[in-house]
């Protein structure tokens, strides 16, 4: 039992921190370079081998580790040290409730590929995320610098505002799935629905012709809650404070904001937190809106039932497990790419524009989404 939990923990943390994290810093530079018609980072080398810039993440870490660690005069040492730690911990512990695979039966043991399968998983994500605000608040205050303080004011008000709308934007999703447990949410997306099925439901067509049966979509959150997806992605990207929502920093106004007085690995921790959140956001959005580990148009039962006659149940389940983990990671990679694309495409928003977007556009839209979703659910249940 304990061994199983530790293995699952190590897997998800090592994949995220050991594989995604260093690669993402490289991908970000290279993608920026490609989109701006440059070559990008390629100068770090070991004995002349440059490996298309893949050594840069290692060079960055070495540089940060060997840099002088400055604590400004008049700063509160303890809080100054604590702030980067508070920033990074939420990103890591969120991984505990994200399923990277489904449930698999091997004989009489069941393997559930999530570290903590708790009933209130999504509430846990929101609660843990709300703690991250303190990293930004404390960093700015403990640095004893006015621009840092202004930066942390902006960061904390932005994060608190978007927390509210982030919770509201996925209420519709909770209503559709009827659960807050992330593994159940992912499992609920492991089937398909007929694209034109609503014609039959509303009685506009007596019976759909059989040849239309192939016209199916996976029952993913993005198809069931398209508006919810756009709102949630906007909110969670604003929570991460990366461009275009990087109002807490601004070269021409408040310099680097709340992490201006940080150097060496303390700055490195803020940087790590920001970059680690990118694949964590990808994993969360994949689980909520893209079926998590589910393979589109190929449900777990179909796959296991199809492979079992030829190779046996054990092999079929094992193959299913492997394909599901790969499917999950592919979705995370795709969503990381999407976030990078957004980051290098949209212009930076001004601070008041960020707040206006939250309170004047996303909040009413998410409330409307809740009402429309509730009405539709009632209508569909009545017609069934």
């Amino acid at each position: 039992m304990i061994v199983e939990v530790v293995v699952k923990m190590l897997f998800i943390v090592l994949v995220m921190m050991g594989l995604f994290l260093p690669l993402i810093t490289w991908v970000e530079r290279k993608q920026a370079a490609i989109m701006q018609d440059r070559i990008g980072a390629n100068r770090a080398d070991i004995a002349g081998i440059r490996a298309i810039g893949l050594l840069h993440p290692a060079a960055d870490v070495l540089k940060l580790l060997t840099k002088e660690d400055v604590v400004p005069r008049g700063a509160n040492r303890v809080l100054h040290l604590l702030a980067p730690v508070i920033s990074i911990v939420p990103a890591i512990v969120t991984l505990a409730v994200i399923p990277f695979g489904g449930r698999y039966r091997f004989g009489d043991t069941t393997l559930n590929l999530v570290v903590a399968d708790i009933d209130w998983g999504m509430l846990y994500v929101l609660a843990v995320g709300s703690i991250a605000t303190y990293g930004a608040v404390i960093a700015g205050w403990a640095s004893n610098n006015n621009w840092s303080l202004l930066g942390s004011m902006r960061a904390s008000s932005q994060m608190i505002s978007y927390e509210v709308t982030m919770g509201l934007s996925i209420v519709g999703l909770f209503m559709v799935y009827g659960t807050l447990r992330l593994p159940e949410m992912a499992a609920a997306q492991d089937h398909t629905f007929r694209l034109l099925g609503f014609l039959e439901l509303f009685g506009w067509v007596e019976r759909l012709p059989g040849w239309l049966d192939w016209l199916r979509l996976p029952a993913w959150g993005i198809f069931l809650q398209p508006l919810g997806f756009i709102l949630f992605l906007t909110c969670i990207m604003a929570e991460n404070k990366r461009p275009p929502f990087d109002a807490p920093e601004g070269e021409s106004e408040i310099i680097a904001g709340y992490h201006m007085e940080y150097s060496g690995m303390r700055f490195g921790l803020f940087y790590t937190a920001e970059f680690l959140e990118v694949p964590v956001i990808g994993a969360l959005v994949a689980t909520l809106f893209f079926g998590g580990w589910a393979i589109p148009w190929l449900s777990q039962e179909t796959l296991v039932a199809g492979v079992t006659p030829a190779f046996g149940a054990g092999f079929a389940t094992g193959l299913c497990l492997l394909l599901h983990v790969v499917s999950f990671l592919v979705k995370v990679v795709a969503l990381v790419w999407l976030q990078m694309l957004i980051r290098w495409t949209l212009p930076r928003m001004r601070y008041d524009q960020v707040m206006d977007l939250c309170w004047k556009a996303i909040l009413p839209l998410s409330l409307a989404n809740v009402f429309v979703t509730g009405g539709l659910i009632l209508l569909v249940e009545r017609l069934r």
């Binding site: 604590l82 509430l123 609660a127 709300s130 303190y134 205050w141 608190i160």
Partner: protein, 167 residues
């Protein structure tokens, strides 16, 4: 000692440490507020051990994640440090505080043990969001709606007060 007991004592110790940190950090209000956050989070852990999952999460989400941040906003903007507080002169308040704590401690030590008998087994799904939601929207609907009206009034009031001029 069972695993639950180990976690309980760990969270309880953290909560007490946070409480002490808040009270003793009189001269550094931000550190005091951060200690309060520690207490809130530890209390959330204790609630989860009591199977009050929703209360535990709300404790962290609302108290630790939102309310104390607002405290910090005020404290940081006023930027009160050390000398701003002047000499200590709350002798009477201290005596009163110690007396209240002593009375409460005496109650805990002498009156509470054995006062309640064995705890009842909670029903299925107790303390989860489903049970709380059902209770809120069926038995306590009127109280819920009245509370939301009260909060709305407070919100409108805050906006009116914060606006310098209303067109």
């Amino acid at each position: 000692m069972s695993a639950a007991a180990v976690f309980f004592y760990a969270f309880a110790a953290l909560a007490v440490a946070g409480g002490l940190g808040m009270v003793l950090n009189v001269r550094n209000t931000v550190a005091g507020a951060m200690s309060l956050v520690l207490t809130m989070v530890a209390l959330g852990g204790v609630y989860v051990l009591l199977e009050a999952y929703l209360v535990g999460v709300l404790q962290i989400l609302v108290y630790a994640g939102a309310i104390v941040v607002l405290f910090l906003f005020v404290v940081m903007l006023l930027n009160l440090r050390g000398e701003a507080f002047g000499p200590e002169r709350q002798g009477f308040a201290k005596v009163l505080g110690v007396a209240v704590v002593a009375v409460l401690l005496a109650e805990f030590v002498w009156l509470l043990p054995g006062a309640f008998g064995a705890p009842a087994t909670p029903p299925e799904g107790f303390g989860g969001y489903r049970a709380v939601g059902l209770a809120l929207f069926t038995d306590w609907l009127l109280a819920f709606e009245v509370t939301s009206l009260l909060l709305l009034a407070a919100m409108v009031g805050a906006v009116v007060l914060a606006k310098r001029s209303i067109e």
